[in-house]
């Protein structure tokens, strides 16, 4: 039996190239904003989602760094690392701490500072989340792994790359009205089709950008709720894993960790995919968006791209996804993306999403995927 957990505050820095700011400044800004939004004091614990602090910034012990910078000492502070899902995993840790009754109020912040390194260094650092012995060391970067998956998908479904355009277009469209987003300009199908290739068939407009950012959420128990709070309940939180090597999976297009994290989240929240009003998907590559929609049970493979073409996932469609631009256009500061998703879902459920508001949003699913599907973290939030 666990205690109910609520989110009572969010904070986000703009996502982009923050040439003058480091991890310390970015994370501090997000945490301070989230605590101010929650109008609370007395943080029991800080959980920091971060993937590349060691590899790109030469900084480990990141949670202590940030607790120190924000003035939370001597609170418990731990870094949680789950590749690109690190931010969502930090929220998971905060959820467990409050649900168990060990802590009453915990802050989860995701932060990543990627632009201080050159692109090839960043690509290598990201590849440390893949199987180093059997895949990454042979040059299989994340773009390359995702390209293998996308090529297989195109072959099996007899589609061409253009069928993925709606995912990139809707992300940029949604980001256009998000002041925190990195790319606030809509793109056209022609631009998508003509863009430079990163690893064929993945073009740069299939892929989320390298960037900096931090987002934070404040979680608390029912006992901590005050009349001024606009609490959003964490109806469920789950994590699942799959083989770290892509080659070890019987079907490289089946995101089993994503499927399991979603099914566990639905079971714990006692709801089904039909009950979800919006889905913050892990759209790091358009292929991953399609595969995660399938894995979460929103659509069978034969329907995913067809529905995308029909506007099913756009704002105003039956299942809006990436409502603030997603990883693709809001940006993907890797260890922070999961907390951005959750902070954005909270804004939707509070009815504070402004021009990005999904009408009558009552229940949201967020899913953050690390290591091309080897780890997935899902949360269902309810207004």
């Amino acid at each position: 039996m666990t205690n109910d957990v609520y989110i009572i505050g969010t904070g986000q820095t703009p996502v982009g190239e923050h040439w003058g700011l480091g991890m310390r400044e970015l994370a501090s800004a997000a945490v301070v904003e989230a605590i101010a939004d929650a109008k609370t004091e007395g943080v029991d614990a800080l959980y920091v989602g971060n993937m590349l602090g060691g590899a790109l910034n030469g900084q480990e012990n990141v949670a202590t760094l940030i607790a120190d910078a924000v003035g939370l000492l001597p609170a418990e502070a731990l870094k949680i690392e789950a590749a690109c899902a690190s931010g969502a995993a930090a929220v998971r840790a905060a959820f467990l701490a409050v649900a168990s009754g060990v802590h009453q109020l915990a802050v989860a912040v995701g932060v990543e500072k990627m632009t201080d390194a050159l692109p090839d260094v960043v690509t290598s650092a990201l590849a440390t989340a893949a199987d180093q012995d059997f895949e990454a060391s042979h040059g299989l970067s994340f773009v390359a792994l995702s390209a293998l998956m996308m090529r297989r998908y195109l072959y099996e479904t007899k589609q061409d790359r253009g069928a993925f355009a709606p995912f990139a277009l809707l992300a940029h469209q949604n980001a256009a009205t998000n002041p925190k987003a990195m790319f606030r300009e809509p793109i056209s199908t022609e631009q998508f089709l003509g863009c430079a290739m990163a690893a064929e068939p993945i073009g740069i407009l299939d892929a989320a950008p390298v960037c900096d950012g931090a987002a934070a959420v404040v979680l608390c128990s029912k006992a901590m709720l005050r009349p001024h709070h606009r609490p959003i309940r964490v109806a469920s939180s789950s994590v699942a894993t799959d083989t770290i090597a892509l080659a070890a999976r019987p079907d490289i297009l089946a995101l089993r960790a994503a499927a399991r994290s979603a099914s566990r989240a639905f079971a714990a929240a006692q709801c089904t995919p039909e009950d979800i009003d919006l889905f913050e998907a892990h759209d790091a590559f358009t292929i991953i968006t399609a595969l995660s929609l399938e894995a979460c049970g929103f659509a069978p493979r034969s329907e995913v791209l067809k529905r995308a073409a029909e506007g099913y996932y756009a704002r105003g469609g039956q299942l809006p996804i990436s409502t603030f631009g997603g990883l693709k256009a809001r940006g993907h500061p890797v260890g922070a993306s999961g907390t951005y998703q959750i902070a954005e879902a909270v804004l939707q459920l509070r009815g504070e999403a402004g021009p990005n508001q999904v009408p009558r949003a009552r229940r949201a699913l967020t899913q953050s995927i690390g290591g091309h599907g080897s780890v997935a973290v899902a949360h269902i939030l309810e207004a």
Binding site: E17, W19, G20, T115, L118, P119, G194, C195, A196, M197, G203
Partner: protein, 348 residues
């Protein structure tokens, strides 16, 4: 900054090698399908017998001819470059000897990435403006390096210009004021013994080129109390034309004001020679009374900004080859391999 004694440009000269390379030849070898087209259509390439020393001598000779002064009146010579033929041993001494300026002079090579030439201009203004010397020759000249396949290779060009400073009386252009804006910003560098520079990708833009160029430019406009519209021409360091177009727009200069000085469109980025070449191109056509705005940029990083006014006092300021003469004299390298050989990029 303003010198105690008024200083002006007495003469100037440019040099651009004759060889050109169509950047589509580089694209054919290196560019990924769908990636952005090269920033310039062609760039200048030094022949095997051209280097910063020979090119500086040519530009310096034109500057002396135009100034019409005896070489022994020149008391200082600096060569600002990223392409020193000798790592240790000045290029400036060879240039000075060839121009007949030796032995009574201050001479050295200057290094500040792409603003080494304008750094020499600042020093020249200071030496003349303090009365230490009657003439000082500031040269910015480069045979720009770029690793094969690097984004820089599409624009790295060769050329530069010499600016001869002296007392304002009889000068063809007056120095109204200058400023310098410098921070430690490691956007682009070449390590000792390394043949090619490294750069920080997108970091070379916003926090580097734009921050320093805009900051120095705004400070200078503020110091002289002028609006961009009061200038007939504006010259900036030109790594790629679109960088210049953007700073011009942000500062309030028009396309018309920057067109003449934007020589990179036709020959690429001559690193330390780039902004001085643009200034020389403007001096070739400017009329008496015209004001010229100038702002360099050098990685590492900093910008020198100058405000000039054309006097009309010089008797024959445009003797010898103009920048346009050099730009329109060209022979195109036919193959990438020929270019690699000319640039001594084949190593074994």
């Amino acid at each position: 900054m303003k010198s105690k004694i008024p200083v002006g440009i007495l003469g100037y000269g440019a040099y651009i090698p004759r060889l050109r390379l169509h950047t589509k030849i580089i694209s054919a070898i290196w560019r990924a399908a769908g990636s952005a087209a090269p920033a310039v259509a062609e760039k200048s390439v030094p022949a095997l017998d051209e280097d910063v020393i020979t090119m500086s001598i040519e530009a310096g000779r034109t500057a002396l001819e135009r100034a019409g002064i005896a070489p022994d009146r020149i008391g200082a010579l600096w060569v600002g470059t990223e392409s020193k033929p000798y790592a240790v041993k000045p290029s400036a001494t060879v240039v000075a000897q060839a121009l007949g300026i030796t032995p009574q002079l201050v001479a050295a090579d200057m290094e500040f990435a792409c603003k080494a030439g304008s750094e020499a201009m600042q020093a020249a203004v200071a030496f003349v403006g303090s009365g230490l010397v009657q003439g000082a020759l500031a040269i910015g000249m480069d045979t720009a390096q770029a690793r094969p396949g690097d984004a820089l290779e599409y624009t790295a060009g060769s050329g530069g210009a010499a600016m001869l400073f002296g007392p304002a009386s009889g000068a063809l252009a007056l120095v109204e004021a200058s400023t310098s804006f410098v921070t430690d910003t490691p956007d682009f560098f070449r390590r000792e013994h390394a043949p090619f520079p490294e750069h920080g990708g997108r970091f070379t833009g916003e926090p580097s080129y734009f921050h320093h160029t805009l900051s120095a430019s705004r400070r200078l406009l503020n110091e002289v109390g002028r609006e961009p519209k009061e200038y007939a021409h504006a010259v900036f360091h030109q790594p790629v034309p679109k960088f210049v177009e953007r700073v011009a727009k942000e500062l309030g200069f028009t396309e018309e004001q920057v067109r003449t000085g934007l020589v990179a469109r036709r020959m690429g980025n001559a690193y330390a020679g780039s902004s001085l070449l643009g200034l020389a191109a403007v001096l070739d056509v400017a009329r008496p009374g015209d004001r010229i705005f100038f702002c360099s940029y050098g990685s590492g990083a900093g910008s020198d900004a100058f405000s000039f006014q054309i006097t009309g006092a010089a008797a024959n300021p445009r003797r010898g080859p103009t920048v346009e003469d050099y730009l329109s004299r060209s022979h195109h390298v036919g193959e990438y391999g020929e270019y690699l050989r000319a640039r001594r990029k084949i190593r074994y």
